[in-house]
Symmetry: C2
Subunit: 200 residues, 2 copies
């Protein structure tokens, strides 16, 4: 049985959002499953001494244009959210709580968070907005809030960040297939080729 | 008549090398020509406060793997050169000298430099190696050397760097089609789509 595809993402990454919209279908076409990993990109950036794309004044204007264009190229709805980027630990802790019982439901929560932030402008870092989203998703809002305040799930996310850095992750989306790392939504074609024919 | 495609590159950029191997054919398929711009990426990096990809310890290993894989994906011969990266002002000054009389010959020189460095390991920053390459290309080696020491062509390259930064260039390859900027060899599909159907 072929090994699952590892998909690392931060809920604040527009390129990871676009990838989240195609990766399951691509994997399924090649008989693979996807292991979703919610992480905090800030931790990976710190480990790699990097800065967010939009921090560089000259790059910011280009990046905003490319986010939207890359979404259109993939046929994915996209509205540049404000504020951007945002801290996403609360959504990520809920992800890991769901993942313990049911990884597919956690992946559905991830897609729901991505779409809320990047297509509807739902501010995931705002506790009230995130509780409302949790309710729409079928969770008990107060229970979701209790999860993101719980030391156990803070620790679980911390562990996920450390595991990602240890696996060489320094950006998002970061996809690993059979040990081969691919960084960026724009590596879709190469991932597809790898899945179809193996190493090239 | 549709406007030319502007293609900005540094001879030390592996992704720009890969792009140099497909951009003329892609443009021709869509009735376009290509304006080649040899620049020094270090100047653009400085303006944007960026660092080369391989400067980041965690990114370096990935980058070296991705250079070679991206070349294979495009069917372009590639052998990671050492040393890397290198200063490329001498090859770039010869480029601008040729461009004044014949832009197509300058583009041919650019392709020749790229292939020499990235497929045959010719060290472009070494004056003797570059003189030999100039001779193979049909130039008089000593004349080429005189060009890269000439204040006129130093100034011409400086002007090209400044014009690139003013045009928003902060990396290589950087491609501008009808005012739309595309950064990276991995934007080939989007460029192709733009050329085929216009804005999307």
């Amino acid at each position: 049985m072929p090994s699952p595809i590892d998909f690392y993402f931060d809920f604040s990454s527009p390129y990871a959002y676009i990838t989240s919209e195609w990766i399951e279908a691509l994997a399924a076409r090649h008989g693979r499953t996807v292991r979703w990993h919610a992480i905090l990109l800030g931790v990976a950036f710190q480990a790699a001494q990097l800065r967010p794309l939009t921090d560089h004044p000259i790059k910011r204007e280009y990046a905003l244009r490319d986010f939207a264009r890359s979404a259109r190229a993939e046929g994915v709805p996209f509205v540049q959210p404000e504020p951007f980027p945002i801290p996403t630990q609360n959504a990520a802790r809920v992800f890991w709580w769901l993942a313990e019982a049911d990884p597919q439901r956690a992946a559905a929560w991830a897609r729901s968070c991505f779409r809320a932030y990047f297509a509807r402008g739902v501010h995931l870092a705002d506790p009230e907005a995130l509780k409302t989203l949790a309710g729409e998703f079928g969770l008990v809002p107060d229970e979701a809030e209790a999860i993101w305040h719980d030391a156990k799930w803070k620790e679980r996310l911390k562990h996920a960040n450390e595991a990602a850095v240890a696996a060489g992750v320094f950006g998002a989306p970061f996809i690993v297939v059979d040990g081969e790392p691919f960084w960026g939504n724009d590596r879709k074609q190469q991932i597809e080729r790898w899945l179809a024919q193996g190493p090239f």
